[in-house]
Symmetry: C3
Subunit: 440 residues, 3 copies
Amino acid sequence: MGNCFFSQDKNTNVRVSLPAVCFVWEIAMVVLFGIFVRYNEEADAHWGEYKKTHNITTDMENDFYYRYPSFQDVHVMIFVGFGFLMTFLKRYSFGAVGFTFLIAAFGLQWALLMQGWFHSLDYSTGKILIGIENLINADFCCGGVLIAFGALLGKVSPVQMMVVSLFGVTLYAVEEYIILNLLHCRDAGGSMVIHTFGGYYGLAISWILYRPNLNKSKHLNGSVYHSDLFAMIGTLFLWLFWPSFNSAIANHGDGQHRAAINTYISLAASVVTAVAISSMTEKRGRLDMVHIQNATLAGGVAMGASAEFMISPYGSLIVGFFCGIISTFGFKFVSPFLEKHLKLQDTCGIHNLHAVPGMLGGFISAIVAAMASESIFGMSCLMLLCSLFKGLILKLPIWGDPADDNCFDDEVYWEVPEDEESIPPVLEYNNHMAHKHQDR
Amino acid sequence: MGNCFFSQDKNTNVRVSLPAVCFVWEIAMVVLFGIFVRYNEEADAHWGEYKKTHNITTDMENDFYYRYPSFQDVHVMIFVGFGFLMTFLKRYSFGAVGFTFLIAAFGLQWALLMQGWFHSLDYSTGKILIGIENLINADFCCGGVLIAFGALLGKVSPVQMMVVSLFGVTLYAVEEYIILNLLHCRDAGGSMVIHTFGGYYGLAISWILYRPNLNKSKHLNGSVYHSDLFAMIGTLFLWLFWPSFNSAIANHGDGQHRAAINTYISLAASVVTAVAISSMTEKRGRLDMVHIQNATLAGGVAMGASAEFMISPYGSLIVGFFCGIISTFGFKFVSPFLEKHLKLQDTCGIHNLHAVPGMLGGFISAIVAAMASESIFGMSCLMLLCSLFKGLILKLPIWGDPADDNCFDDEVYWEVPEDEESIPPVLEYNNHMAHKHQDR
Amino acid sequence: MGNCFFSQDKNTNVRVSLPAVCFVWEIAMVVLFGIFVRYNEEADAHWGEYKKTHNITTDMENDFYYRYPSFQDVHVMIFVGFGFLMTFLKRYSFGAVGFTFLIAAFGLQWALLMQGWFHSLDYSTGKILIGIENLINADFCCGGVLIAFGALLGKVSPVQMMVVSLFGVTLYAVEEYIILNLLHCRDAGGSMVIHTFGGYYGLAISWILYRPNLNKSKHLNGSVYHSDLFAMIGTLFLWLFWPSFNSAIANHGDGQHRAAINTYISLAASVVTAVAISSMTEKRGRLDMVHIQNATLAGGVAMGASAEFMISPYGSLIVGFFCGIISTFGFKFVSPFLEKHLKLQDTCGIHNLHAVPGMLGGFISAIVAAMASESIFGMSCLMLLCSLFKGLILKLPIWGDPADDNCFDDEVYWEVPEDEESIPPVLEYNNHMAHKHQDR
């Protein structure tokens, strides 16, 4: 066991770097929150006066009641959904759910600040005024970072992920401002802002961090029966709450209502077509859990940008129909191709679930709303360059990342129980017998 | 492993049939949605005008805000609740959660259409106008089908389940129309419409599909420690969100409020009495997980029909009290009897959790509301006949269902990981030693 | 296996006592509910009239819509959150989730009565009038009892836990009345009322029930890989829904809004600092699952009392910052000290997650609101005495509790599947070989 920490001369000891990063950044948060962040008028004790001056007759008109149920669903998606979706690896489940927890908990604080400066700054006082919608947007931003984590899963250290998170949230806030405020796109569910961004951000970093000898950890880059079931917890909560994701910051009234319906329908279609392609591409028609865990969600990703639009229920069905197909094909054929020919090691296949369906969603939205897709393209290039630069920084040999032969292994960053108690009685007997033979 | 696909001359290859069914039916959905389905006035962009013409002063009056939180809870119950409840089998957990995903995702689309034609058709335009209440009802309808799946679990192919789903949703929409619109019963939580229907539909099909040699798969028809825990995820989310299930389509205001309270109380009582009977019927007083996973829910099933009624909190307690007892006795004594003497192989024991408590709920509701229970009885017979006929169709040798000796086995329809990595180090050593002996 | 029932002359057969307690108490509930409990004006069919006489124009003003989404989140925290958090033990997961289910389902009924007599009694009719807020408070009360269960986990019988639950709910209702109604403290999220109470109630009982030979069960007092993952389900749902917990019974409007924001922020900070300390205190910087599962929640506990206050976002950050540190240190250093020197066996470490952060929350609230903390101190002593007395009763040899060498073992109170099917093929072969050797 000892040698798993120093193989190939890589030092994975993060005892100094991880606490240092956590403490310094968290103290920075306290200071910055102290200077900048206050409650907005709906969360502040002056709400009573605000109601009077704005002729609001009931507390029900507080935005909290319009958005809190959706917020909670989004919150579950980010931490349980993304976290458990990535537990499919047989010995990296602690890392999946634990690092998700860490980077999203830090990321949402930084996102409240970054997004606040761009969107919720009260220019008269210089304060960021936050309410329930800010919490939702902060969670969305963490979603983008966690998508990137999906490509890097098992190959980076928690310190690297904190850096990816800090930088990713910053980049996210910038691109979000450009897409929503400068280009005036509509993207309530974040097809472009969250999924395309997160997808290419993660892929760019993963490309820079290419590990030629990753097959040394091949025996750990797979699932066991129960880890696949844990991953289904993630899949289902993502799938179920996606209507809340796409409607959470939509307009009150018919906007939220329609966004939820469109997403519900699109997701249903992508389950059916993902199953069809999964069965069709296996020689005995058997289903592949990877497809069921991932491609079934593609309809939700693609509906993000146009969830609020009047694309009508059959329009949503068509979106889900094709995205289920494209995403499953991606997992089956495109990912192996990308790894072999483009040196792109994408642990969770975010290219097929987020990057491509997200772009599709952007195109659909562009067609429906006749948007300026060229300027989006220009911005994408800019983003990609930033991501690649970020990746180069992460190649520095200071981050405590694992060597090629101990990737995907929780033992590196977690104290892992030894599981000897799970040996069934018959084996203990067997074990006893084998030792007896040895003694002879 | 190879022989698990062709035992007893049964061909379980669904590579053609499953994709064909998925694609053809999904394309039919797109066409039918294109012709028939539109947003209703609360989800449509004309909501602004509608508000004005109907003197509605706030977006909060949109039905979305009355029902969306309950809808999300129901949604979780259908996919996580039913899906994980059935993961208790040691090697059929992929099938439990995966096929639930597939048939409910398809079923809800077909339900939107079938229920739409009966309940939400705008006669002036010939369109089905959908809103949040339609999504809830579509989920309810899938609940009925998934109950039937509980009786068939592990013994049918996914293609058969798609057929069961198509036919079941159709039958459901008809019986729902008869019970609610022609007989004018109240059944907000679906004791009769969902649970009794789903229970007898599944039992009838299972009876026709009787497998005399099912004990060949006996070694797989049971749980392991962690599969029982996964099932508890299903149980708890069903139990917790049942108040939302029974109040989701109840009347605004006191109706939804009372339905939630009644269900909460009834469920609490059935946990306590289910535990009591489970302990009482084991020689050392030890609890049986099957009872905890299932009979604890009986109070929710039985409260369905009368959830909205003024039966008062102690009335709800009494309902839960007796249903917990009856359901646990059912699992302990009635199910073995039915299997032995009536050739009824009911994998999940839906007879005890859905059929009987559902009927009880119908009777309670009939007593409270003085309903015409004879006409319900007549209709039940009709339904049973349809279900039996359906079962006969499924006996045709074209569906790719498993042979008697590979039921309850995920290997048939899923690519299953091999789990060799889960061997603890001590055993690998042992293994090594045994081989060394062998070499000598 | 047989000897696990009678080791050390302890009889763990609960076949008579458990059903007897369940039946007698449940019948008492039916009778008491029949005499005392009715719907309040918002859940009663007279709501229509009530609206008219109180000039309420919309059903949306029914408290149900203000609180039901939060109630459901709290409900999930109690049963899934607490239940699964305690599944971390390798062979006591059934007990964790099953006994949580039982004692909370009974406890909430008794809480509706006890809290009703103190808070919701209609003096003109002598009836307890219940609505959604009563359900939330009943769940809160069960939370207190389940915290106590955390200290006793694996060492008591279900009959004892029913007694702990009955007595705990009673004591809870009294201390809640004193703190909220007599001392006029604010404690919307229950830092003192729930967490400090539950913590010291459990610790006092555990101290009385000290087992000097508990190390005989040491091999079962730990986790395996997947049991740690199940526990993370509990952790995450607790963490995610804590904003709902602290805002569920806060004032309508800005009160609920602010409580949710404060809790969200505080929790985020405690994750980051808990990770920092966990990494810092392990020689290779590796994280300990116990800390991630528990200390990350400390920010929510401590924010309970002051969640509604205008402590501003950075105030919440600071609370979370320090609680994450203190709680992790508690798990690392204080718990072993307490066990060694104060004979305090605290299975889940509730001292570090509930007792201490809860007290801190009380102090913060006291500072902010300038409360009379001495009277709280006086009351705490009284409570502790009652808890110790309760513990003495539980020492009587009539409860069917396990002997020191079969604690933490589900086999005592549950029928446990044998798991032989989980042996991978390579081991079966190995097994076969070993026997062959034996035969030679």
